[in-house]
Subunit: 119 residues, 2 copies
DNA sequence: TCTACTATGTAGAGGCTCGATATATAGAGA
DNA sequence: TCTCTATATATCGAGCCTCTACATAGTAGA
């Protein structure tokens, strides 16, 4: 374990990536979801503004799982295509909280510069 | 001219690109700058948080110029390497204002979802 | 002369999202 | 029964963007 993993910083070059990951983690923070439903709920929560293509969604889910931020378990129900249920891990919840702070800091700086950069 | 150019929307997949372009336009809104100085000023304005690599900066400047959002003129001063001075065009100023609204809308939606998506 | 700073520019590498495609199951309707 | 639609997961190639590194060039100072 590093002394200070997850410093609350968001850098410009990974904004999209960070944003997508955070939206997924935030949606999972209200309870387990499987991938398809996650996309539907996110679209509903955002009033249609945020939408995941599944070519985007699944690779991110696999990545988050390999990083230990979420955990996926196969649901085997008869009469159904099997599906994978993802839930937030403790590390994932920590990451979510740290990154949310990072985004707020980023926004403050961004609009500060847009407003002319005066103190 | 399209009926509604520059709709104030910011989409996730082009966040970094949009952010970089906007930071440049915002810095130019306080007066003409040449590229090198633009990067220095932006770094100063943001307290070191936002920094342009020049392999990033110059291609964006050329793109913005080709789109008519900024205009560049060569300064020819003796005893100096020649440098190009960029200024915001009217279209650039419009774009800046529209995109700033787009970013605010994006942020509201983003934190709305992060907060649980309740109305 | 060598180094450092100002100043602009390009090429290649790598990362990320998107659209398309593939696979699989269940229910509705013709 | 056959087909279409919705649910559900997964991968691949194209395209875009930024970064690192390299290339160029003038001036000032050691």
């Amino acid at each position: 374990m590093h002394p200070s993993a997850d410093p609350p910083t968001v850098d410009i070059q990974s904004l999209s990536r960070s944003c997508n990951r955070l939206l997924i983690l935030a949606t999972l923070s209200s309870g387990p979801h499987h991938g398809y439903q996650l996309a539907l709920e996110l679209e509903e929560r955002s009033g249609g503004a945020f939408r995941f293509q599944h070519g985007t969604l699944y690779p991110i889910l696999h990545k988050l799982e390999s990083e230990g931020l979420i955990r996926g378990d196969w649901d085997e129900e008869s009469g159904r295509r099997r599906r994978k249920s993802y839930r937030l891990t403790a590390a994932g919840r920590q990451h979510l909280e740290a990154q949310e702070v990072g985004w707020r800091v980023f926004f403050e700086r961004f609009f500060h510069v847009l407003g002319g950069g005066k103190p």
